[in-house]
C-alpha cells in the first residue's frame, strides 16, 4: 500500500483514473485513502481500440482480484516501495501471487523511492529473482513522472516483441 499505483495510472491514462478508494484504516501508512477495489485507466489507440490499465490493491487479502485482473492481460508491472521495511518480502508476496501468470506473461518490476532508500539495491532484487529461477526487468522509477511510467510500459512491450521474435519451443 502506498507505492503509487494510482499515481502511476494517472500519469499515463487519458482521463483521470477511476479509483475505488476508502479511508485508510492502517495508521502505520501515512495516506488518507487506499485502493480496495481497483484503479482503472484507459488509452484510446488510433484505430479506436482501448488499452485498459488496471491497478490492483496491494494488500494480500485482495489476491483473489489479482487472478481475475491478470487474465488475458498483455503484461504485468509489479510496483515496489523501497522505503518499506522489507521490500524484498513484498516482492516475493507478489511473485507468489502471480506465479502462474509469470510463467509466460511479460513482467517488469518498478522500484520507487530508490533515491532516498538505497537498500536493497536493484542488483539485490536481481539476485533474489535469480534464486527463484526468474529473470525480470528491474527499473528504478518515480511514479509521479510520466516518462518513468512509460518506460515501464515500454519494457513490457519489448518483452512481448521478443517473445514473438524469439526461439520457439
Amino acid at each position: 500500500m502506498g507505492v503509487g499505483k494510482t499515481t502511476a495510472i494517472a500519469a499515463i491514462s487519458e482521463a483521470p483514473p477511476i479509483s475505488t478508494d476508502v479511508a485508510n484504516a492502517d495508521t502505520s501508512v501515512a495516506k488518507a485513502t487506499t485502493t480496495v477495489g481497483l484503479d482503472f485507466g484507459q488509452l484510446t489507440l488510433d484505430n479506436g481500440d482501448r488499452l485498459r490499465i488496471y491497478g490492483t490493491p496491494g494488500q494480500s487479502r485482495f489476491d483473489f482480484m489479482w487472478q481475475i485482473l491478470i487474465r488475458d492481460a498483455l503484461g504485468l508491472a509489479i510496483l515496489l516501495d523501497n522505503s518499506r521495511p522489507r521490500p524484498l518480502d513484498d516482492m516475493h508476496t507478489y511473485l507468489d501471487g502471480f506465479a502462474d501468470a509469470l510463467k509466460e506473461m511479460p513482467c517488469v518490476i518498478g522500484v520507487s523511492r530508490c533515491d532516498t532508500h538505497a537498500s536493497p539495491s536493484l542488483d539485490d532484487y536481481a539476485y533474489a529473482l535469480q534464486a527463484r529461477g526468474l529473470v525480470l526487468p528491474i527499473v528504478a522509477v518515480d511514479l509521479r513522472r510520466r516518462d518513468d511510467v512509460i518506460s515501464l510500459v515500454e519494457t513490457l512491450l519489448v518483452q512481448i516483441e521478443a517473445i514473438d521474435a524469439g526461439v520457439s519451443p
Binding site: L43, E104, Y127, G133, V135, S151, T155, A162, I163
Partner: protein
C-alpha cells in the same frame, strides 16, 4: 577496418588539431577518427580526467595520457603517452604503434563475445546496474533477452540498435556471467526450459505486432 580515438578532458583546440591530423595524414596505416563521446578503441585523456565514466566497448580500452613535453609518462602502460604541444608525427607514430594491440584486442573480444552474430543467448539473471548504465539502449536489449533467446542480429532488429552495439552488449553480459547460450544448458534443466520462448495466448503474432505499434504511437514511443 577503422579505429576510433576517443578524447576526454582535452581542450577543444587540441581535439580539432587531432581531427585534422588523423584526417590528413598519409602515414597512418589504418584509418582513424576522433570522437568525443560514445565507444572508442583508444582513449586519449588529460592526466586529470577520470576514465571510468567513458562508455567503453567490451574490447580492452587502451588509455594514453597526455603529458607536458619533457615530463615522464608516469604509470602509462608500456610508457605510452602523447606530449604537448601535439606534433603530428608523434601522434601518427603512436597510433601506428598501438594499432596491432587494438586489432588483437578487438579480435579477442569478438571471438569471446560474438560466437557468431547468429548465436542466440538468454539471460540467467538481470544484469548489474553498472552494466546497464553504460548505454541507454541496454535496458531495452536486456528486456528482450529476459524473455527469449536472441542473437546480436535479432536484438539489433528488435531494439532498433546497431548490431555492433548489440554484440558489445552480449560481450559485456558474458563477461558478467549472466548469459546462457543456446545448446549449452543441460537437458531437462529448468533454465533450458525457460530459454525456449513462451507462447503468448491471445491473438496471432502479426495482429499483436500491429497492436504494439499502435500502443507505441499512442505513448510517443514510435
Amino acid at each position: 577496418m577503422s579505429f576510433v580515438l576517443g578524447v576526454m578532458g582535452i581542450p577543444k583546440v587540441e581535439v580539432e588539431l587531432l581531427r585534422i591530423i588523423v584526417r590528413l595524414s598519409s602515414n597512418l596505416r589504418t584509418p582513424w577518427t576522433v570522437s568525443e563521446s560514445g565507444v572508442c578503441d583508444v582513449l586519449l585523456l588529460d592526466s586529470a580526467s577520470a576514465s571510468e565514466t567513458w562508455h567503453a566497448p567490451s574490447a580492452p580500452l587502451v588509455v594514453v595520457p597526455m603529458v607536458q613535453r619533457g615530463e615522464p609518462a608516469g604509470a602509462a602502460p608500456a610508457g605510452r603517452s602523447l606530449a604537448r604541444p601535439i606534433f603530428a608525427e608523434e601522434l601518427v607514430d603512436l597510433l601506428n604503434e598501438i594499432t596491432p594491440d587494438v586489432r588483437a584486442g578487438k579480435a579477442e573480444a569478438t571471438a569471446q563475445s560474438a560466437r557468431g552474430r547468429g548465436s542466440r543467448a538468454s539471460l540467467i539473471r538481470w544484469p548489474a546496474q553498472v552494466t546497464l548504465q553504460k548505454n541507454p539502449v541496454y535496458m531495452r536489449l536486456a528486456a528482450a533477452l529476459s524473455k527469449s533467446a536472441q542473437s546480436a542480429e535479432s536484438l539489433s532488429a528488435l531494439g532498433r540498435v546497431d548490431v555492433d552495439e548489440c554484440s558489445t552488449f552480449l560481450g559485456l553480459l558474458e563477461q558478467e556471467g549472466v548469459l546462457a547460450w543456446l545448446g549449452e544448458a543441460p537437458a531437462g534443466d529448468a533454465l533450458a526450459a525457460r530459454i525456449r520462448a513462451p507462447v503468448l495466448s491471445g491473438e496471432p503474432a502479426g495482429e499483436r505486432a500491429g497492436l504494439l505499434s499502435r500502443i507505441r504511437r499512442r505513448l510517443g514511443l514510435a
